[in-house]
Point group: C2
Chain length 333, copies 2
């Protein structure tokens, strides 16, 4: 168990955004308690657990998780070391941990869904570049003991409604209205809504994107798609000039871990990351050409080796957090 | 937003219990990444977010939520005052907040499910004794403003697999093994697995049950069922003599709020609570006859008025917590 000695000025929880469903008719609380007439239901919101440190630096971070993950992925590590949010809390940042609509503790959805119980952990073991099951990468920073692997996979949690990027965007924008201006940190699938949030909100002070899957471009400046051995090609997402201009007002840094091949790989999931890094560099080039401030950090080129897709949970997550904090400090955040 | 000034010695997160599903065949990380052969999946676990105060009193509380709720129900209030777990943290208790298997951030289930998006909030408005929608009880302690009502309903979150009491029991017992001895606090639906956990674990130091729906009895000492205007009769649940003996080694207190009718009520959901209180008194009588220490607290009879089914979120939740803490202190907990 991690020893923090954290001084918390305040902590709390709130929901943001969402809708209120209504059914026709009139609700009768006595005779018709279980009848559908005239019912309402609050759904499609995000929710946020936040902690503000006593000795704050005046800045906040809103954490948006990746596919199959809740806020928990930023709050813990497989072997029980301090989570990424604890590390930033100790650095003086207010931490705002979001469960996106239709996942985790924000599960109430306006659309029905059938959830399969189909085993698929090993897809993710490959996709996350932990290794080729049951073998880890030789230089992995992931804690390899059985208990850590067990704890890691149990962080995954299903969607309770279809993933809806505009809905993730609108609810996170609403969450930022309540938190006040904050750095937006995204992981993986959170990357695309992250760009949308940066295009829609004045409360985003900067974006730290950890291994996003895709990138946005001005509609007249979308690069050619990148074909890898992964089933889907990697394509730029066109956005309006207005949305793009608003996005690139924010400083942006994108992080990639280790063991991403430079040459085409026989492992489709790994070849996807090769293409993703290529698209990331095109993204930064276009952002900076348009007067923005975008940087791509490939950790091995910065001398930090062995990180996987969950660099914020790896054994060197303190070093990763320090690297990100330096980037923020250079931008007075 | 609540102002806590909490000193946290450490906080963290862990999963407990559950299974590992396996599919037949051999997993091929290269060619068959997305194929079902030889896959595994970690599911049916509980998980726990915990906070230990710097100035602790040496005791812990494990919080088990009620129907449609995650740990969030103990961590916040509709109007943003400190949550119940924050109040006990300030009293010096380590707080351990559990999401049960197949709900919230412990969503990974071994059984498929279809989740309906059917509006039903108003059923709960009645069942929770908030009032008869859109009217609140005259003396309600619930914050009645629209924003508080909105925040309250958005705490609800669906099951991602069938509710399984033995599974909730085994995973909570496993969670208690990791936390060490703790008071078990249950709400509503959590009450029945709460009795099972108390019958199965040596790590439960006492049980505080907030408006449980049902009670256990020795198999030869089950009282007659209680029929109310609610569709289902209230029946005692028989357990083995060994399980019962282990349960009643623990001090037990059961809390009920206000606006529970003494006479049959035309509102079936409210009449259910009338029967539940009657069964609670039979429960305490049998526990104490067998040498246990069980107490039923009906708040209005203790001079505390206007509480609903979510007394731990009501405007007077500090007073409720103080009352519970006094009961614990009398038992050196």
């Amino acid at each position: 168990m991690s020893d923090e000695n954290l001084e918390i000025k305040n902590q709390g929880f709130y929901s943001a955004g969402g809708i209120v469903q209504k059914t026709a008719g009139t609700f009768d609380p006595i005779k018709g308690q279980m009848a559908p007439e005239g019912q309402i239901r609050h759904s499609d919101h995000a929710n946020v657990f936040y902690q503000e440190p006593t000795k704050g630096n005046g800045h906040k971070i809103m954490f948006l998780p990746g596919y199959g993950q809740s806020r928990v992925s930023y709050m813990t590590t497989p072997d029980g070391r301090p989570g990424f949010s604890d590390i930033f809390l100790k650095k003086g940042y207010g931490v705002y941990l979001l469960d996106q609509p239709r996942r985790g503790e924000a599960g109430q959805s306006s659309v029905p869904i059938t959830i399969s119980a189909q085993p698929d952990d090993l897809n993710w073991f490959t996709q996350f570049r932990l290794g080729l099951w049951p073998n880890f990468m030789d230089n992995t920073q992931f804690p390899k003991d059985d208990e850590s692997v067990d704890q890691f996979f149990r962080q995954m949690t299903p969607d309770t409604g279809e993933i809806d990027f505009p809905l993730i965007t609108s609810t996170t924008v609403a969450a930022l209205k309540k938190s006040g201006p904050a750095v937006l940190m995204t992981h993986s699938q959170g990357g695309v809504p992250g760009w949308m949030i940066g295009s829609a909100s004045d409360d985003v002070t900067a974006i730290i994107a950890i291994e996003p899957g895709a990138f946005v471009f001005p509609k007249d400046d979308v690069p050619e798609k990148i074909v890898t051995k992964y089933p889907m090609a990697i394509e730029g997402i066109p956005v309006s000039d207005e949305a793009y201009a608003k996005l690139i007002k924010k400083p942006i840094v994108v992080y990639y871990g280790d063991n991403i091949p430079d040459e085409p790989s026989d492992v489709p999931a790994w070849d996807f990351w090769r293409g993703s890094v290529q698209m990331a560099h095109k993204f930064a080039e276009v952002v900076n050409t348009h007067g923005g401030d975008a940087k791509i950090v490939e950790l091995p080129k910065a001398g930090i080796k062995g990180n996987d897709h969950f660099m914020f949970q790896d054994l060197n997550n303190q070093e990763i957090a320090d690297h990100m904090a330096d980037w923020l400090t250079e931008r007075n955040l």
